[in-house]
Structures are given as structure tokens and as C-alpha cells.
Symmetry: D2
Subunit: 139 residues, 4 copies
Amino acid sequence: MSSLQRFGVSMDASLVGAFDEQIQQVGYANRSEAIRDLVRDYLVRQQWQVPDATVVGTITLVYDHHTADIEHHLTHIQHEHTANICSNTHVHLDQHNCIEVIVVRGSGATVKAIAEQLIASRGVKHGQLACTTTGAEIV
Amino acid sequence: MSSLQRFGVSMDASLVGAFDEQIQQVGYANRSEAIRDLVRDYLVRQQWQVPDATVVGTITLVYDHHTADIEHHLTHIQHEHTANICSNTHVHLDQHNCIEVIVVRGSGATVKAIAEQLIASRGVKHGQLACTTTGAEIV
Amino acid sequence: MSSLQRFGVSMDASLVGAFDEQIQQVGYANRSEAIRDLVRDYLVRQQWQVPDATVVGTITLVYDHHTADIEHHLTHIQHEHTANICSNTHVHLDQHNCIEVIVVRGSGATVKAIAEQLIASRGVKHGQLACTTTGAEIV
Amino acid sequence: MSSLQRFGVSMDASLVGAFDEQIQQVGYANRSEAIRDLVRDYLVRQQWQVPDATVVGTITLVYDHHTADIEHHLTHIQHEHTANICSNTHVHLDQHNCIEVIVVRGSGATVKAIAEQLIASRGVKHGQLACTTTGAEIV
């Protein structure tokens, strides 16, 4: 379905050396794999700038589940966006604190708006949105 | 267990106005809640700078599960860090693409190293690390 | 011209304590000043999301001035956008490397496009865009 | 002094296509130039993680120059770090607002500490640090 293309890149030898050293430390199998990752990451960042592109985001919420009504409130927001919510994971960090990780798919604007609404909820101590891709156009 | 403190903040009236307008759009219940969120986010960012502080990260990986050996490889890396892995969620995005979301706890350096190793794996199309907190010191 | 408003914020005492400790280290004169900074930074980030808002960006370019034609090329791009360029500073880092810092004013989209064009120029080793404000609506 | 190295990269044809389309829009002369930029940016981000590496930062400060004592205060901080300050540019944005752009060289920790101290100063409305390189090891 997909075809592999091979092309040449010219780069200063000392730049190649510094890059090889770094990617070996991190654990890349080879230079092509590392460069593909840089290219894909660049394209994903661009997708988030295009208003209509479908993207995927992971919303991470940390909260104290003793906060009145918080679980009900977070569930309620998610139910208003069921078409966009792919999954929800709940982890108990300690007796008080939970982390909830929600995978959301939609336009960048939609995903950001859902994230902002959840993060703004009373009782959410910290929220983060990680911006990624459906993978469909990123091979 | 925790005691609420109330203190005054002075701010230019037009700055307060612009802030109120923005946080109402996003859905904050009130100004205190929004300011608490800004303060907590500031403290979480500082925690990630302190070498020994225990933090929590959410690692998001997008990959094609048809890539040879990828699932086995990602599982293998996670098994080397079982003490740090809190949870793992797998979502099917389409026939080819999956998203795997892993909650990791440890020092900032440890969480970053696990994220780099997973993201560098052959077949991972895109990886992201979201930096958050255990919630324990962020009330 | 501007009037100071004072309002109360309620926050868990231990959160106030952690915040105070952190901002004293950094050198804030008091809590209000630090909270004003967090509020302003939040508003500036929002301004960059609004298509028509006028913002200011600082573009930093590092390059080897021996690269053929680079200075002429960078000057040429800037002359195409004279209405948006506020200033240009050039620093000699060593015998080869220069840093050029360009202050640009315009819509977020315009400032980003100028930054991308300059950073993409052959011979620019590294480029960065810092997103800030005209200060006009941020008091 | 430097020698050019040429190596092959294999990449899915559709990924190459999407990348080419994107970099043409931005204005890259060719694919090698764009890939060199991604590699250099990756290496610069790593340099900022290494405690002893010498890096360069651009600090952008927006302030109202009518704020009592602010110019004297900002100058004072910079004079305490003359060994690290490379340049200082001041632009008048309007009757009230100025932007000051300071190029700083040193370890990542030093550059961040100077930035935090300046940004925390009373009267600074917004501050940003752009993280770049001396260019010396990035060819």
C-alpha cells in the first residue's frame, strides 16, 4: 500500500556525528528512523495549525476525587462530547489524588476547547493537553 | 487537613476585566479558581526542573500495530520500568493505527528517559510527553 | 488613566506557602506582582490564538556570516515586510557565528509567516520565535 | 574546515510528499536544508538539557517605561551579569510601551536565572526566553 522512497541528504560531517551520538544515547536503531521521527513531528505540528484537519489529543487531568461533585462534573462534560471522546483511563495516585487520561479526536479547535473546559473545572489541580495525530496521514 | 487562606491581589482594573472575559469563555466558575490553576501550573513546571522531585508524565504513542514486533518491543521496554509505570491504555484509531497512553511516575529525568526510549522505537509514528504532577504537594 | 482594583483570592494555605517560596527564589517583590505576571502571560497566550489581534514577536536567528549570500537574503526578506519590522540587532558570537534578533509586529499569522521564512533560509543554523505583546492591552 | 557528508534516508513516499509540500510553502530551498534544520533544532534542544553546555538565549521584555525605576532596575540586573550579556536593544512600541531584547550567553542554568530575574521585575508586563545556540558546535 505504501512504497518506500530513498533519497540523499547532505550534511556537514560534524553535524552528522553530533546527531548520531545523540540518537544512539536515546536508543534509535538508525539515522533514518530518527529523521523520520523529526519529519513526522514537524508535520503533526503543522496539522494542529490547519483549522479543519482531524487530530488526536491526550488530555491529562490530576484531581482529588474527594472534591465535591468533580467526578460527576468531568463525566458530564465528556458526555456532551461523546463523538470526540475515544477513551478514558483513571489511575489512583494515592488516597486522594487521581489522574484521568482522555483520548480525544476532532479538529484542533474542538480538541483544545474540550481540554480547556475540563482543565477549568473546579477541583482539577493540573491539566495538560498533548497534541498528536490520528496516524492516518503520517506513515 | 488543609486550611483555606484568603489574601488580596491588586491589579489594574482593565487587566482584571480582560482576565474575567477570557476565563468566562473557557468556563471557569470564578477568578480564584482560575488564579489557583495558574499558580498550580507554575509550581508543576518548577517541579519538573528539580532533579529529585517525583512527578507524573503521560506518554502518548501513535503507531501502526502491523509494524513488525512493535507491540512486543513497547511491552518489553515497559516491563523494564514496572516500578514507574502506573497504567497503560490502548485505543484503536482505525484499522492500522493505535494510540497507547502510558502514565509514568518517577523523577523528571526517569520519566523523560522512558518517554524518549518509547518514542524512539521503530514503528512509533509520533510520541508526546505531557508533564504533570502526583498532586501530593499541589493542593 | 488606569485604576487599581483589589480583590480577594482564596487558596489552600500550603499552596500559598509553596508559591511564596518559589517566587522569592526567583526574585518577585510580592505575591501580587507574581500573580499579575501569570495573568498577563495567560492573556498574551490567548492573544496569539485570536487571528486579528496585533502581537509582537522576537525572531532570533543564528548563522555563519560566511555562508554565501545569507546577509543579503535575510535583508531582502525583511525589506519585503518593512511595515512589520520594528528593529534588527546583530551580535558577533565568534569569528563565524552571528546572532540576529528582529522585533516584528503584526497579526499572529503574519509574525509567524515572517519567522518561518527567515528560519527556512539557507545558512540559518537555528531560529526561534518568542511570542509577546504590544503591551497596549496588557497593563 | 568542514566536510560535507552525503547519506541516504528511506522514508515512505507519501511522507516524503507531505513533507515536500509543507516545506515548499514555508520557503525551504530543498529537502536537505529542511532536514538539516530539524536536526539542528533537535541538537539545540538537547544542548539546553546538558548542565555545562554553553548556550545563547534571547530575553524579550515588554514594559511601560513610566513605571517608577524600572529602567534603572533592569540596567542594574544586567550590570551584575556583564560577562553573560552580549547585547541589548530597546524599541519604542508606543508612547508607553517598550520592548527590550537582551542576548545572553552562558550555561543553560545561568541564562534561565537571568531571564527569570528580569521577567520577575516589577513593571515588566511580559517576558519570554528564546533558547538558541552559540552556533559553534552546530554547523
